[in-house]
């Protein structure tokens, strides 16, 4: 009997699923070596089917998406119970990613924005309710939680696979490894490891030339013309998140002429991604006068968005203070 495989999406965009399909024919290896028992995007399955499974009967579960509502939380706990290996797959499950930026706002404000935008006339002030009575019985939709949480804030996680989404060649390598482990030809890395990524920084993989940096002004990349294609972007005054970001993507963005935005999460040994970037940016500012430093810092108009774009929910502070209050 083939070992069982599951993949689930919680609060995510679906890009992780696309990245898995982007492994091309490697996906056939998954099918050849695993019995896919639960994968809502790819096949029909019911939660009650998973509930009926024996504990620990699924060998490998790739869980993408953060925990935003009680349904996400329920399925996370359910899949933990049913899986031998639970992988936080992709940036959302590892550290919150873009959905985690909602942790800057109270949940009431999020609902308001979604149902009462400039382009939405909500004439009857209709908002979602968690339950509703209809003649056939009670309808139920999941309840929002105050903030988005990474997977490991809710359940025990065996491995982390970062990236938004994880690079397909990295996914293929992990699939190969697990197949080898199943066949008894390889060993799993220690629990809690980051898999499918490097252990250095994006700068280490970046081919751009680096010198001592003296920054007099930070600029958005679209305001720099022309951008030197061979010189470090940070050196050109473009806030690039490479110094704090884990390697593994082959410096894809800097290679394509764009700054690193940090989707591979904190590099090895970095406790707080944003703090590491504060250090990196502050070190290159070429000014010692407080007023001049402030003026240069004005070039980063949204510091939290800049340094925590993918990492807010997984950072030390986790959320804006306002997000804990409901209204």
């Amino acid at each position: 009997m083939k070992p069982k495989f599951a993949m689930y999406w919680a609060a995510s965009c679906g890009g992780c699923e696309i990245a898995v399909l982007n492994t091309h024919e490697k996906i056939l290896d998954v099918d050849a070596n695993f019995d896919v028992v639960f994968w809502p995007v790819a096949m029909d399955a019911k939660y009650r089917d998973v509930e009926a499974m024996e504990d620990g009967s699924i060998l490998l579960t790739l869980f993408n998406g953060g925990i935003r509502n009680d349904e996400n939380e329920h399925i996370a706990k359910l899949l933990r119970q049913k899986s031998k290996i639970l992988v936080a797959f992709g940036s959302c499950a590892c550290e919150g990613c873009i959905p985690g930026l909602a942790n800057l706002s109270p949940v009431g404000e999020i609902v308001q924005t979604a149902f009462h935008t400039l382009t939405t006339d909500n004439l009857h002030e209709l908002y979602p309710r968690s339950s509703f009575d209809v003649p056939e019985g009670e309808l139920y939709i999941p309840k929002l939680e105050k903030v988005l949480r990474p997977l490991d804030h809710v359940v025990d996680v065996d491995y982390y696979m970062p990236g938004c989404p994880p690079e397909s060649h990295q996914i293929a390598a992990v699939v190969d490894l697990v197949i080898k482990v199943v066949k008894g030809e390889a060993e799993l890395p220690p629990k809690g490891s980051v898999i499918g990524a490097g252990d250095s920084t994006v700068c280490d993989e970046c081919p751009r030339a680096r010198n001592v940096k003296f920054i007099k002004q930070f600029n958005r990349i679209q305001d720099v013309a022309p951008v030197d294609p061979t010189l470090c972007l940070l050196e050109q005054g473009i806030p690039c998140n490479g110094p704090a970001t884990r390697s593994g993507c082959n410096a894809r963005c800097p290679n394509a002429g764009a700054q690193c935005i940090g989707c591979y999460g904190p590099a090895e040994g970095v406790l707080d991604y944003g703090a590491r970037l504060i250090t990196a940016f502050a070190s290159v500012i070429d000014a010692n006068d407080p007023d001049e430093i402030e003026k240069i810092l004005d070039g980063i108009p949204d510091p939290v968005g800049q340094i925590y774009r993918f990492n807010l929910a997984g950072s030390l502070l986790k959320a804006n203070r306002e997000a804990w209050k409901v209204k």
């Binding site: 949480r149 944003g274 000014a287 402030e294 810092l297 340094i307 804006n320």
Partner: protein, 156 residues
């Protein structure tokens, strides 16, 4: 509104070459200052990783005081300027996270300025007392599901 029963917890990061000695001097001279600050000695204010500050605040500190040598007097030539730049960027980030930037303070104090160290500490404790407790959530289970009542509030 000032809570008179609230005693702020302050973490102080002091430089080995100046402000830690200033604190020592304040002690040997028996100067009185607020007992709320817990000092952690660093070799230089430039050693201050902003992670230390974020961790302190997220683990129960109400304020963080960073002290270093006066500009131009750093034992390691210019690392206190790096501390200054980090501090200014860190304050902007704290503001974005809904934390009053005044909860983190940078003070320059030389080894001879015990009196200044004592006065600044006391003043900072009083400032934090006015701001009130920070009460940052330490564990994520405190982020759990909204109660029924709160859910209605959101829907209302």
């Amino acid at each position: 509104m000032t809570d008179t029963t609230f005693e702020p917890t302050i973490i102080g990061f002091t430089c080995n070459w100046c402000s830690y000695r200033a604190a020592d001097l304040a002690g040997t001279a028996r100067m009185k200052y607020a007992p709320n600050v817990r000092l952690i000695r660093l070799m230089c204010s430039g050693r201050l990783d902003p992670t230390f500050v974020l961790r302190a605040l997220s683990q129960g500190a109400d304020g963080v005081m960073i002290t270093g040598c006066h500009p131009g007097e750093c034992h390691y030539i210019e690392q206190n300027y790096k501390a200054l730049r980090r501090y200014l960027l860190l304050k902007r980030v704290l503001k974005g996270m809904g934390i009053e930037p005044e909860r983190v303070k940078l003070v320059w104090a030389s080894a001879a300025e015990g009196a200044k160290f004592a006065a600044e500490t006391t003043a900072f404790v009083e400032e934090i007392r006015k701001l009130g407790p920070l009460h940052w959530r330490k564990k994520s289970d405190q982020f759990s599901v909204i109660s029924e009542a709160e859910q209605k509030e959101v829907a209302a």
